[in-house]
Subunit: 138 residues, 2 copies
């Protein structure tokens, strides 16, 4: 029997969660997991966002990355407006199962600004905040 | 004048947040940013965690990654117990400044399980949850 709408299961032992083959995603108090999407070829991080159980289920079913938009409070198929979908190539789960890394093939720029990745700026750790950011390609 | 303890500033316009050189981190309702640490050499994602303003400030000051531990409710210098610190090589900020990607040199395994990365398992999207995870190195 398939269970495609994963639920939290706090009865799972820490050992089983960390070393087992059972997928028991650990959603936070808002019902969300962190999802990091990386370009399957360059391995650059393209976008970091969140998934609720429905976004995760639709991502698995469709093969296209879905998020839960915190700002809009709704399910969000990445690319639904721009056409720049993120096709899932590989999904990784972390030790405590509260974060995913998704290797994806992007259909175009991932960022709504038109940048290939949302991470187009570097932070100079030593600089004053007023001028701490600069182009990541510099 | 340096401001090393960044605070939310909702007076910043969307355009300034997305395209400016000003660092105005956007903490969530729990006062947290998402932080993704990748290996500076392999570009593999090592760990995904959260930073509050203090963890961010200490990371910038010390050059070693600090997080806010949600489970323990305290500041967490990564490596404080294991000795496996994450030395910051490069910090990237996303479009809306609510997530960081940190390229780091790990002193040893990053995961508390002893794995090099916390993402040591793959998820088979089509499998039943009971047996959906398998070794990422397989």
């Amino acid at each position: 029997m398939r269970s495609r709408q994963p639920v939290n299961d706090n009865s799972v032992s820490r050992e089983e969660r960390e070393s087992g083959s059972r997928f028991v995603p650990k959603f936070d108090s808002n019902g969300l997991l962190t999802a990091v999407v990386v370009d399957v070829d360059s391995k650059d991080v393209l976008v970091v966002a969140f998934m609720n159980a429905e976004a995760l289920a639709r991502t698995r079913e469709s093969g296209n990355v879905h998020f839960w938009s915190r700002s809009r409070g709704r399910l969000w198929l990445k690319g639904e407006t721009s056409g720049n979908f993120l096709k899932v190539e590989k999904m990784l789960v972390d030790c405590d199962q509260d974060a995913l890394v998704i290797h994806a093939s992007p259909d175009g720029p991932t960022c709504h600004t038109g940048a290939r990745s949302c991470f187009y700026r570097r932070l100079d750790p030593d600089a004053d905040d007023a001028s701490a950011l600069f182009s990541a390609s510099r």
